[in-house]
């Protein structure tokens, strides 16, 4: 078990080292990075917005309910929705969802290329496959996922508004007052740190799983599942570490 852990860690690190090398042709990497940005960013926008909307709505309803009959003023609903969203829910939930959507897709895509000998074909041509297949995905994710997380945070706050103001749980003035109270810009920085770390994890771990896949469709399915499971676990572990380090 421990030996296996070190084996995979070592192989993962050496794959990352191979990934960071001078591209054979910048224009090809640029083209691929743009394609990945489109796939990861635009392709995930709707699901991210939908989930963020409901997270904000649920958070608002739950807090409004918990604040009922207490001494805590109701405008705290907006404040709590904002901070929970920025500090935790937007980066973590968004990236857990993306680990499922983008991560499994990366593992299946690279694993499928391995099985169909397309990676061998690239190697024979003289292409550094670790760099060409993985680096554009990582760069695209590092750029696009923080943007998606920002959008998720914004949509989540709107979700909280939609769920609490029209239903009369809190007034618009209270919700907006809450949003504008006790704002700490450092929390936004923390959100971006999380988004960048999670983006790196949710692309490199599935890429590792796909790159070294062996066997047939069952193994590819397992690699895809492992990609999501390990990405999720490591996202949550790193979430905890970042929380310890930055708060």
């Amino acid at each position: 078990m421990i030996l296996s852990l070190f084996y995979h860690l070592g192989r993962y690190m050496s794959l990352l080292r191979l990934m960071i090398s001078k591209p054979e042709r910048w224009s090809m990497y640029w083209k691929e990075t743009m394609r990945q940005m489109n796939d990861i960013g635009i392709g995930s926008l709707i699901i991210v917005c939908l989930i963020a909307l409901f997270i904000g709505a649920v958070a608002a309803v739950q807090f409004a309910y918990q604040l009922e009959g207490t001494m805590v003023p109701l405008y705290y609903t907006g404040y709590i929705v904002r901070d929970m969203t920025i500090i935790e829910l937007a980066p973590t939930i968004t990236c857990l969802v993306l680990a499922g959507k983008v991560g499994s897709n990366i593992a299946a895509e690279i694993g499928g290329m391995r099985q169909k000998e397309q990676i061998d074909a690239l190697e024979i041509m003289g292409v550094n496959t670790a760099a060409y297949l993985i680096l554009p995905k990582v760069i695209a994710a590092l750029v696009v996922i923080p943007l998606l997380v920002s959008i998720a945070a914004f949509v989540s706050i709107i979700g909280g508004y939609i769920a609490s103001v029209p239903t009369g749980m809190v007034t618009e003035a209270e919700y907006v007052l809450g949003l504008r109270s006790f704002f700490v810009p450092y929390n936004v920085f923390m959100m971006f740190v999380k988004a960048v770390v999670f983006a790196f994890l949710l692309t490199t771990i599935p890429a590792y799983q796909g790159y070294f896949v062996k066997g047939g469709s069952i193994e590819l399915g397992k690699a895809s599942t492992n990609a999501v499971v390990f990405s999720d676990i490591l996202i949550l572990l790193s979430d905890y570490i970042i929380a310890l380090l930055l708060t």
Binding site: M28, E117, Q118, I124, M125, G126, V127
Partner: protein, 253 residues
Amino acid sequence: MIRAIDIKKSFGDVEVLKGISSTFEKSKTNLIIGRSGAGKTVFLKILVSLLKPTEGEVWYDDVNVTQLNKRQLIDLRKSIGMLFQGSALFDSMTVEENIRFPLDMFTNMTKKEKQMRIDEQIEVVELGQSHKKYPGEISGGMQKRVGIARSIVLRPRYLFCDEPNSGLDPKTSLVIDKLIQSITRENDMTTIINTHDMNSVMEIGENINFLHLGKLAWVGNKDEVLESDNELLQNFIFASPFLQRLRKRALGK
């Protein structure tokens, strides 16, 4: 010319190749044949430098490939073309984009020059009007043609083909064989084909290397196959009683 010198390869305790030495000549279609599990694919992967041998050397003309570092190997690979068993075409690219890929990646050609080279390759492999289609939309034979076009678009000095006829009907197989042979001659390449298609052996086998249980059991050309008294070879090539009878009749026995 490619030379393999005393190639051995083991995976754990299993010795797959037990010391193979062979020479693959320029402008000829060099075949590696043998039963499943004979070590053909491992041998081909070592020749093409996708696998490192446990012992032995591979020479491409005057270059000892087994001693090259990663950077040198990447440079050498630009002079190698390979046709894979399943063609290994990129699914997300059209036929034309597949052929264009090596040009985009490794050359400084202008758009016009690239298009001219692509059109030339499409004509050589007789792809017709399929260049805007995706690999999934064309037949297996057409996919092989695209694979050949992609593998020779950079004008390589060495061409490797892994089971080029697998999944193809005998007629199409012959067309693909003839295509590989004519490309080899016209471009003066060293071509190595890994196959167990007997039609290929008898049609384009100019230098046949027969592997058996990880050893080189016979070397010769297609004309020598019929008269060879190597029992292992005869059992492999004329496997069915019908073919054995045909052989006897051909030899007048």
